[in-house]
Amino acid sequence: MLTKRIIPCLDVKDGRTVKGVNFVDLRDAGDPVELAWNYSQQGADELVFLDITATVERRKTMVELVKSVARQINIPFTIGGGINEIADADALLNAGADKISINSAAVRNPALIDELAKAFGVQFVVIAVDTRVMGNKNIVHLNGGRLPTEKETLNWILEAESRGAGEILLTSMDHDGTKAGFDNGLLKLVNDSVNIPVIASGGAGSVQHFVDVFKQTNVDAALAASVFHYGEILIPDLKKVLKQNNIEVRV
């Protein structure tokens, strides 16, 4: 059977891994390539690198990082952050990235999804969506959750799918950093509405949260950062518990 995927996420700035609590306070959690290799050895199914570098050198730095990762690890990985045009995506693909994740650039220019899917195939295009509840609606946010848009989250995800998104990475900004569990209500709604894989993100604090998200929403993958980086959850232990709960995993 196709297994549920466990995905550590590495936030990278200037070539180093960082993770913000609620995306604000950044703490150094190590060398991204070394971390990536460790995760691949532990049994991570995939990795996501989110580049939050803001300098003009960013593309060059990122391409070098992607090449080092591709040389040293034997599982797939996605690169996100600051991808605004076909040329950015092309450089990352040629450096060994399996997928790219786009967020703000797709919201600002939805046709970019069509262009990327046409140029590289839908399997290469992950649309990352940061969502936050405003009033009683889930609204797409930009800039790490600080800037609300006009877009309602489910509508935007359906539009992204119809334009050629191959996968959705959905982060609840209300849950992110809280370690209180994933936003299972929204994740189930989204997962039931689309025919492409959904990655749950935001709120993982315990092994039980992973059991809950797979049991309650049937999403394809769950992503987390700090619980893995600081060793609070070890991937082999997590997978053992998932398996005990009859959730298919690769061990």
Binding site: M1, L2, T3, R5, S40, D45, E46, K67, A70, R71, Q72, N74, I75, P76, L93, N94, A95, G96, D98, F120, G121, V122, Q123, G166, E167, V194, N195, I196, P197, D220, A221, R250
Partner: protein, 196 residues
């Protein structure tokens, strides 16, 4: 030494990086004269099968590929090119294997593309799968699959329906999954191919 057939369909950085990590020597095939320098070949490929076939035809290497008699491994779309036809772009392909590449049917319970780690079961004895336990997980990303055929299917995987995770006929092999992204089992498969 493995010759990788270059025709511009997708990036091969991950593949060559993996071969280097495993200490498997390789070089590039850009013209017909290059074939004789190598004792086995890989046809890589990602993206659209019809577009990939078009690019391969433009290299002029198609007649030489059809007559290869050394071990040849197609990966992902490179495997699909070995079949007779793909529903992707309604394209005629190399027809080394008289089987078809079909689109996954719509399913209310299974998403397309088939993305992630799924189990592969060898259906025949073959050195390609030596030291790889039955039911090992490999990494797949694809919307089109090669139909199951008892004659040509070397290993199978089930997703929506049972399909060919790998095919084998004489010196030709194809794998739908990405061995270069499939952890230790993928590495074992590439090592096995380098010794076939």
């Amino acid at each position: 030494m493995i010759g990788i057939i270059r025709y511009g369909a997708g990036n091969i950085f991950s593949l060559t990086a993996t071969l280097e990590r495993l200490g498997i020597a390789y070089g590039m095939i850009n013209s017909e004269a290059d074939f004789e320098q190598y004792d086995r070949y890989i046809i890589p490929g990602v993206g659209h099968a019809g577009a990939a076939m078009h690019k391969l035809e433009k290299t002029g290497l198609v007649p030489a590929i059809k007559t290869l008699n050394k071990p040849t491994l197609g990966i992902c779309v490179g495997m699909q090119l070995l079949t007779s036809y793909s529903e992707e772009g309604a394209s005629d392909l190399l027809n080394i294997f008289p089987v078809k590449t079909l689109k996954f049917p719509k399913s209310s319970t299974s998403k397309v593309p088939h993305t992630g780690w799924n189990q592969v079961f060898a259906e025949k004895e073959n050195p390609l799968f030596e030291n790889i336990p039955a039911g090992s997980h490999f990494y797949f990303v694809h919307s089109y699959f090669i139909e199951y055929d008892p004659l040509y299917t070397l290993s199978s995987t089930s997703y929506i329906n049972k399909f060919s995770a790998s095919i084998w006929h004489d010196n030709f092999y194809g794998v739908q999954f990405h061995p270069e992204k499939s952890g230790v089992h993928g590495e074992t498969l590439l090592k096995n191919f380098s010794k076939i």
